[in-house]
Symmetry: C2
Subunit: 330 residues, 2 copies
């Protein structure tokens, strides 16, 4: 709640929400409540929500972005339903076949994070979809990570050009041809180890593979974190050690805590939607809101639309309007 | 070199190898050198190695398994070439369409590890292949992890039955029908987070997805490990803390060190081949050899072949011969 420029339009049961908001003084005068009685549960099928979702808070939140009442929607709910509602209410950008969900991933790069997409909007992606993911990911890396000329990698099981599935070889060719016009560097195929690595800034993959990679990484980090706690709780000596190392361990946690990069961004729609992790705590939700605010402020949605339109129409001038972040080379 | 029952047939340039082996007293009288001048490099294409690989140490190592001179082959070399040579020289087991590479992954389960396959033998897998992976993974979990009745999960982007790709829905149905006869429990779809989790013991997936998941997990673990080192090197206080916590940290490392579970096993061939990580150090290679020895001793290759033959022919009695590991319920 540190940022005074954020205002909230909160969707849900008004009475309940009003009580909760009253309890936090920092929220006074910054929240407008929009009453909706219905709730989309985690078990609801996206197809059902698309048909019968009117009257739910999720529908109302998306609708507010559609009507320009809100600049960006944030939800911790059912991902499939949120994507389905976003698709039918916000509609896809011209030229986009499949929208994608992009996330930030802790990495060895100077900016500390990489962009990966798609992590689960769609289980399929053909070569053309992967090209669009590359373009959308580049736009996100410019606006979300302040990178002038992002380096794009295409996720595969080896870096040699003869490896992998047919659609990947085709996408390799297409993305490679696009890179000059769209002002990014294409590093070619990358592997799973490069997702937290420094070979590129944007990792392009289909939503099936990206979702598995994301959850494998999260699960591995969580297992190591728990084992670390056990190790430090083992003996009086190790408990003393953990006290001495407290500051260092907190610094470490800050660097690799997945809650701090919580928030998948839906790309390729007329409007920005940020999906927070369903199990997110206050740190996680706060990170998602911060991300939403940053994207709203940079006019990300409009810039992405302009970029895609320019590249799809093959217009002669395809450069995005420069912002102060982009003017000076890094 | 702790195990006196292991004997080595070492393939490569005889003079060079003899000098290296002489330097290690523990190896005296336990190594037989088989001279081969040729080497398969990491850059060689599998198709080329298949045509021109005769005379290389890799070819000779596979050939020794084929001729029953060796019980199992261990290699740190080019994975694609090793798989290609294993396929043409050892041949696939009857009824196996695609062989698979299985690995052990640190997990929250009591046995400390899960089996995942395929992690990269083939980028494709149809429903029938996934069923065979399940059967082979169950056999590996019995022999490699001493589990009586392994729990199998099919990797997907959600646990609901309507989710995922078509071949996964079909495989779900087929594996489910197979589980009683083949004496394993099928837990249904699992997600990336379950690979290091405790929902199942065997994770079944295609080689593309499995390879990406494996490398993402390794890369994430390695990033966290490096950040942990940085955190403890940060200040005099944190360096003191790391000294105090040394035993606990070593215990942690032992639990999650990927080198200690180094070794992908090729399944579905007439003979066992263990692929060690190309960048493995002595701890890693030693782990791969230990695994190879364990599998050789348990007669794994023959038991897997018998199991697949029984299930493929739909014989009335499909139980594997019981060993002492399997007699008493866990």
């Amino acid at each position: 709640m540190a940022n005074p420029d954020i205002r909230f339009l909160v969707h849900g049961p008004a009475q309940k929400l009003a009580k909760l908001i009253e309890r936090k003084k920092a929220l006074a005068g910054r929240c407008e409540i929009s009453d909706s009685a219905g709730v989309v549960s985690m078990q609801d099928k996206p197809s059902q929500v698309m048909r019968n979702g009117q009257g739910t808070s999720m529908w109302a939140a998306i609708e507010a972005v559609r009507n320009k009442e809100a600049t960006v929607a944030v939800s911790c709910g059912n991902t499939g339903a949120l994507m389905a509602l976003s698709m039918i209410r916000l509609r896809k950008l011209p030229g986009v076949n499949r929208p994608a969900i992009a996330i930030l991933w802790p990495s060895r790069n100077p900016q500390g994070f990489n962009v990966m997409l798609d992590v689960g909007a769609d289980v399929r992606a053909d070569a053309q979809d992967l090209v669009q993911y590359a373009l959308m990911g580049v736009s996100y890396a410019r606006n979300g990570l302040n990178l002038d000329r992002p380096r794009v990698g295409l996720l595969n099981v080896g870096t040699e050009e003869h490896k992998g599935r047919a659609e990947l070889k085709e996408a390799h060719e297409l993305i490679s041809r696009m890179s000059d016009r769209a002002q990014f560097d294409f590093v070619g195929f990358v592997e799973g180890g490069d997702i937290p690595g420094k070979a590129c800034d944007v990792i392009v993959t289909d939503g099936f593979t990206g979702n598995i990679a994301l959850k494998t990484g999260e699960g591995t980090a969580s297992l190591i974190g728990d084992r670390l706690k056990e190790a430090f709780a083992y003996s009086p000596l190790s408990r003393l050690a953990s006290l001495l190392a407290l500051t260092s361990l907190r610094r470490l946690k800050k660097k690799i805590d997945p809650r701090r990069v919580n928030g998948g961004v839906f790309l390729g729609l007329n409007g920005t939607v940020v999906k927070s992790h369903g199990a997110a705590d206050e740190t996680g939700v706060s990170a998602a809101i911060k991300l939403a605010f940053q994207l709203a402020q940079s006019g990300f949605s409009e810039r992405l639309a302009a970029r895609l339109a320019a590249l799809t129409d093959a217009a002669p001038d395809i450069a995005e309007p420069k912002t102060k972040n982009e003017e000076s080379p890094k």
